[in-house]
């Protein structure tokens, strides 16, 4: 019988040669007459080990990584790869980075063939939808509320309450919209699910549709994710073929592709974009739950929020709510990124401290230098210094420090970082991505960038810092959405926690 060999097709694995490795394995095993079946999976999220090749054995899967195409000949030198090979990492589940996790949303990612519904079912898929159907719509919403699940897109709004608002609003047509715009630097959880476990999202959206009485769903995926778009579209066709979507299921699903605008991750801007308009932010009220897509009641949720619902339904709200701390219930897929030694996806109950995440789990920096600053929650998130490494990963703890956990991105910088440049970038990014509706965001961000340039050049530093601080106040209180409103977080945290970087003799930098 052919031995199954698992090679990820996740974009982050392909980006470091997974396709070449898969091709080399196919060729080498054919040449040697070794019977194998190559299964392309999602990623386990241990990116420093990618491409991570796994071989099925009677004792479970054994991993090898990072494998390059040139390693394949030695891997198969004596038949199937042996545990004695230098690249062997043992059973993936025993690698501390995986072993320490609580995988609920990511339970199947990297394990199954993403486009096999049989695999999906065999690994516990569809149990959530079945339970929802047996509970009925109202009790399904109630279950989501009881789980304590809060939006994983950034704002942390209770998902069950959002659903209830839509369920209680009468209309001839309602929509479920999945926000898969994932624009935050340092985040890739949405992408991993779409590429590694797409039926999970389909199940989550079908549950949402059933719960609130919506018959149509859209998945808005950013154009920077061509792989995810391909897999998701294919998964929808397969689900339709099985009657999980379509007329019989009374729920249709469609992928729509963004066009490179960060602000289109903001929910009302995303709805405008779906309607075929410029992605400008709408004033609230009305809430999307009352008047959303095409003026109809709409549930708009982040992909991880929706993809967590099937497990909540399948195993019960109490099970999920038992995890976490304070008002942050359940698990969060933390995405370690940037200059991290062990960068990857770490799903865990809320409550780990930032220091545990960066140092114990992430192993410090890839460069081996001390970690100096950590940006949490994407481009609108604050920069944290070491002295705040005891902050627990929790919505309220981060908000209390003028920061946010956002979508769970944790970007590590070593001690070569220049925080004045990072503050400048935050303002520049706001200028590039502003939707143009508010003056402080559109014009203020440009002025702020120019003022930061002066500070970096050493011109009237004190007066110009006061100007930037003032401007941040204006942005914070004069912006319609969090792009303008939260840009002060990275800027002011950099100034507050790393003042020495704003007062350096700039001559050396200028001479470089």
């Amino acid at each position: 019988m052919a031995t199954r060999i698992f090679v990820p097709r996740d974009a982050a694995a392909r980006a470091v040669g997974a396709d070449k490795v898969a091709a080399a394995i196919a060729e080498e095993t054919k040449r040697k007459g070794i019977a194998v079946e190559i299964v392309r999976t999602g990623s386990r999220g241990l990116f420093w080990l990618e491409p991570l090749v796994e071989v099925e054995t009677p004792a479970g899967r054994i991993g090898f990584g990072p494998v390059a195409a040139k390693d394949v000949a030695s891997l198969f030198a004596d038949g199937l790869p042996a545990a004695s090979h230098a690249l062997c990492v043992g059973r993936p589940e025993e690698i501390p980075f995986l072993k320490k996790q609580t995988r609920i949303t990511f339970a199947r990612c990297g394990i199954i063939d993403p486009l096999s519904l049989a695999d999906y079912r065999a690994h516990g898929g569809m149990r959530g939808l079945e339970r929802a159907r047996s509970l009925g719509p109202a009790a399904t919403v109630e279950e989501v509320t009881k789980s304590g699940l809060r939006g994983r897109g950034g704002a942390g709004f209770p998902t069950g309450i959002k659903w209830k608002t839509v369920a209680d609003t009468a209309a001839d047509r309602k929509y479920i919209v999945c926000n898969a715009d994932e624009g935050d630097s340092g985040t890739y959880a949405d992408r991993m699910i779409m590429e590694g476990d797409p039926f999970l999202l389909i199940e989550g959206m079908a549950i949402a549709g059933f719960a609130v009485g919506a018959t149509k769903g859209y998945i808005y995926i950013r154009s920077e994710y061509p792989d995810a778009i391909r897999v998701m579209e294919r998964a929808i066709v397969l689900a339709e073929r099985e009657g999980l979507l379509g007329a019989e299921a009374r729920f249709d699903l469609e992928v729509r592709v963004g066009a490179g605008a960060y602000v289109c991750g903001e929910e009302t801007s995303l709805l405008e974009s779906l309607e075929g308009k410029r992605g400008q932010v709408r004033a609230k009220p009305p809430l999307p739950a009352h008047k959303g897509l095409f003026g109809k009641p709409t549930v708009i949720n982040n992909l991880i929020s929706l993809a967590t619902v099937p497990a909540i339904l399948a195993d019960g709200a109490e099970h999920y709510a038992a995890l976490g701390m304070g008002r942050s219930r359940g698990t969060m897929p933390i995405q370690l990124a940037g200059n991290s030694k062990y960068g990857g996806l770490f799903e865990a109950a809320f409550g780990l401290t930032l220091g545990e995440i960066v140092e114990d789990i992430g192993g410090g920096t890839r460069t081996g230098r001390p970690a100096r600053a950590v940006q949490v929650g994407g481009p609108l998130g604050a920069y944290f210094p070491r002295k705040l490494f005891d902050t627990p990963f929790d919505y309220e703890a981060f908000a209390g420090l003028d920061g946010l956990i956002g979508h769970g991105g944790v970007v590590v910088f070593d001690d070569t970082v220049d925080m004045a440049h990072q503050a400048r970038f935050a303002l520049e990014f706001c200028a590039i991505e502003s939707c143009g509706k508010c003056t402080p965001c559109r014009i203020g961000s440009v002025r702020g960038t120019e003022t930061m340039d002066k500070i970096i050049r050493g011109e009237r530093v004190e007066a110009n810092l006061a100007l930037v601080t003032d401007l941040c106040q204006t942005l914070k209180f004069g912006s319609l959405c969090a792009l303008g409103g939260f840009t002060p977080y990275p800027v002011m945290s950099a100034i507050r926690h790393f003042p020495e970087d704003f007062d350096r003799p700039r001559l050396k930098a200028a001479a470089e």
């Binding site: 974009a11 980006a15 890739y188 920077e224 490179g260 990124a337 590590v412 970082v417």
Partner: protein, 167 residues
Amino acid sequence: MAVVRPVAILEHLNMPAWSEAQGNDIIRRHAGREGALLPILHDMQATFGHVPTPAVPVIAEALNLTRAEVHGVVSFYHDFRDKPAGRHVLKLCRAEACQSVNGERLARQFLDRFGVEWGGTTPDGRLTIEATYCLGLCASGPSAMLDGEVIGRLTKDSIDDIAREVG
């Protein structure tokens, strides 16, 4: 105003020149879809390498919009080009996670090697280099995308590899 492009350049880019018949075919494929404008614009760009200026009034007419509205949408989104790019397009990530692993310095070396600035195309039309803000490969940076294919853990050597690839 329709910009007339020398046909020679378009042939060289392997993209068909704007044709109203082909444009109408694209629009028809999306007939009846809710909010069809973005899908239509994506298809126009996939077919012609950009959203040709003469496509704007045709789309406007079909969707019952004004030209100004269609133009407003085209110009709002970073993805849509109003003129064709080079034969190959390299997108380099300039967002924070890639900055933290020296992405900016490497990006500068790429630009210098090909003698272009951000958004620029080499004089022989072989390569356009654009900025992008995160490709979701943030634990494997610095990251890039060449003609839609992802590349991670870029190094100085990658510059030569990519130079070879774009011939």
